[in-house]
Each structure stands twice: as structure tokens, then as C-alpha cells.
Point group: C2
């Protein structure tokens, strides 16, 4: 059985929990407190030298890191990754968009709002994240004008983007002006095997 190293409030970790539930795959779950630096111990750094959750440990002890690479590993051969070559690349396109143009703005703002005391540094960081976060949501809204899901049917591209988008308001990005994103969120929640984040 695989073991997921995770932190309950992490959207990146939730991606894996959601896919595993929808694959009906059992797993061991180990929570590490990122606030107490439990991902920076020698033991965990031997599993993932980048010191981040989620990490998926396979039965033979091999670890796969990076949430979207873990999604790909688990979903290969399932309906959660399309068969078509172009569609597969488009799934990856949205997953790289998520990690480069979405998560660093929306998830980072959410983390600072939830966990950091008020300070000039916090104010400056949050201010620096506004334009990028809104830009990512605008791109998603426009894409969803012509698509129910990001690439064809529901896929790991939707899982990757759902994780931090459905809690974007907790990062200071309420979705009131994004009706198509709201409809897509309901579409994801209606998928078989859906589980909520916490």
C-alpha cells in the first residue's frame, strides 16, 4: 500500500486525497506539521530532498514528490487522464499553469492570511500577490465560458485547479465575479467519489 505524507490544510495534499478517493485506492496517511518544520527533518528530507508535502511513498520505499507529478503517476491508465496526445499535453499545460501562475499567488496569500501575524512584510507580500491571483482567475473564467471542464471530461487538470480555487476566498480572492468558476466548482463537487478538503 502507498503512504501519503501530507498536511491536512494543504491544497496540494488535498489533490492527492481527492484523486485517491475517486480511484477508490486505499493508502496510509501520515500528517506532518509544516508549521513545526516536520518536513525539514533528516528523515523526511531523505524521502523528499525538497522538504515539501505531499510526497507519495510506494511499497518499495521510492518517493514521488510534487503534487501534480503524483497525480499523473496515480492517474495513468485511468479515465482521469485522456488518451489523446494533444489532450494529455493540455492537461499538463493547465497543471503547469496552476503551479506557476495560480498557486504562488492564491495559495501563498491564503497561507499568510491564515498563519502569519500582521506585519509590514505580510502586507507587502499580500499586495504583491493581488494582480497575479486575479489574472489567473480571469484566465480560468474565460476558458470555462466554452468548456465544462478544463480538458474534455473531468480530469486531473480539474483536480489540480480545484484544490486552491475552491478556497480562493480564504486567500482574499472571493469568486463573486466569476460565475463560470462557481459553476465548475459545483461540477467538480458533483463527481462520483468526491471528498471535501477537511
Amino acid at each position: 500500500m502507498v503512504t501519503l505524507y501530507d498536511y491536512l490544510d494543504s491544497g496540494n495534499g488535498y489533490k492527492i486525497r481527492l484523486l485517491l478517493a475517486q480511484l477508490q485506492q486505499r493508502y496510509n496517511w501520515v500528517e506532518l506539521d509544516i508549521l513545526a518544520n516536520e518536513t525539514r527533518t533528516p528523515g523526511f528530507l531523505a524521502k523528499n530532498p525538497n522538504g515539501r508535502i505531499p510526497a507519495l511513498e510506494l511499497a518499495d520505499g521510492t518517493c514521488v514528490a510534487e503534487s501534480n507529478a503524483i497525480l499523473w503517476y496515480l492517474a495513468e491508465g485511468s479515465p482521469f487522464i485522456p488518451d489523446d496526445r494533444l489532450a494529455r499535453a493540455q492537461v499538463l499545460q493547465w497543471m503547469f499553469f496552476e503551479q506557476y501562475s495560480h498557486e504562488p499567488y492564491i495559495a501563498t496569500s491564503r497561507f499568510w492570511l491564515q498563519h502569519k501575524p500582521d506585519s509590514p512584510e505580510k502586507s507587502a507580500l499580500l499586495a504583491s500577490k493581488r494582480d497575479g491571483g486575479w489574472a489567473a482567475l480571469k484566465i480560468m473564467e474565460e476558458h470555462l465560458a466554452k468548456n465544462n471542464f478544463f480538458v474534455g471530461n473531468y480530469s486531473i487538470a480539474d483536480i489540480a485547479l480545484f484544490a486552491y480555487t475552491h478556497v480562493a476566498h480564504e486567500g482574499g480572492f472571493p469568486l463573486d465575479d466569476f460565475p463560470r468558476i462557481q459553476a465548475w466548482i459545483e461540477g467538480v463537487k458533483a463527481q462520483p467519489g468526491f471528498v471535501s478538503m477537511i
Copy 2:
């Protein structure tokens, strides 16, 4: 024939040029001046709503964006992506590492050093990128202690990481203390069909 929208000095664009050369695949090349906002015109935003190069336009007009998704699209079925399921996930792991933990530090520092006038903002940004850039290089150096390439034989994981690592000194990250990265750079340069960045 495919068309690559690109900017000559972009490492992200260079990834695609290098792979296309090694695949011996011909392509049209269109340079857009990112400094003159040529990636923000309505015409280009219709191709890539995220307004970034590289973007690969297929013969039917479909565009694929995100450098590492383009690499995956072009390399599927070639020796530049391994066949094994775990190895494929590890290739993606290093490519997500590159976009999240490497490029935002090293490539961004290089861009600001090359293109932005001195200012307190520039100094603050460069300072904020130091720890992350060195951390990424340290993780690469440790991995290369036991591996000639990032996942098995030379793959698109190496191409993705090579692009900004071999010019890391231009971002203020000289590689003198990273002998294994230096050896790996020579190993990449020795691959058949290698082309340099500029």
C-alpha cells in the same frame, strides 16, 4: 509544420528549440519581443490567454502553452521520455520542481539583472531570490552525486533543468561550488543534436 512563438533569450523557449533540434523536427520560428509587450496583443492572447512565450501552434491552429507541457507533447513516443510509469512521473517531478522551485528564483533574477534599471525594488527582489536559488542548486547537486542525468538516461527533465541552470551565473548564481552540476552540463552539451541557446 508547427510554429514556435518564442523570444531568443528565454530559457523556457530554448527548451523547445533544443528538443526540436534533437528530434530533427523542422518548425517555423516567430520571435515576439516580450520587452515590447508583443505577447500581450489581442492576436497573441487568442493563441495563449496567459500571454507568455513559448507557445507551440500546431498545423490546425491549436496552441499548446507552458514550456514543459510542450516538451511532453513533442517528446511523447520518443526516447526523451522513458516508458516506465514511475520514471515518467519522476520526469514530471523534476519538471514541476523546475517551474516552482528553480525558475522563479534563478530565471527571474537573470531577467531582472539583464533588463531592469537599478532601483530599491530591484535590489529587494534580487535579495528575496537568493535562498531559493541556492536551495534548488543544492538539491540538484545532491541528486547528481548518484545520477548522471535526472531520471535514467538523458530526458526532457534534463532539458527543462538545463535551460536556466547553464546560465545561472547570469542570474547571480555562479556554479563554482557545484562540480556535479558542471559535469552534468557538459554531459548535456555532449548529447547528439545539441544546440546552444543563442
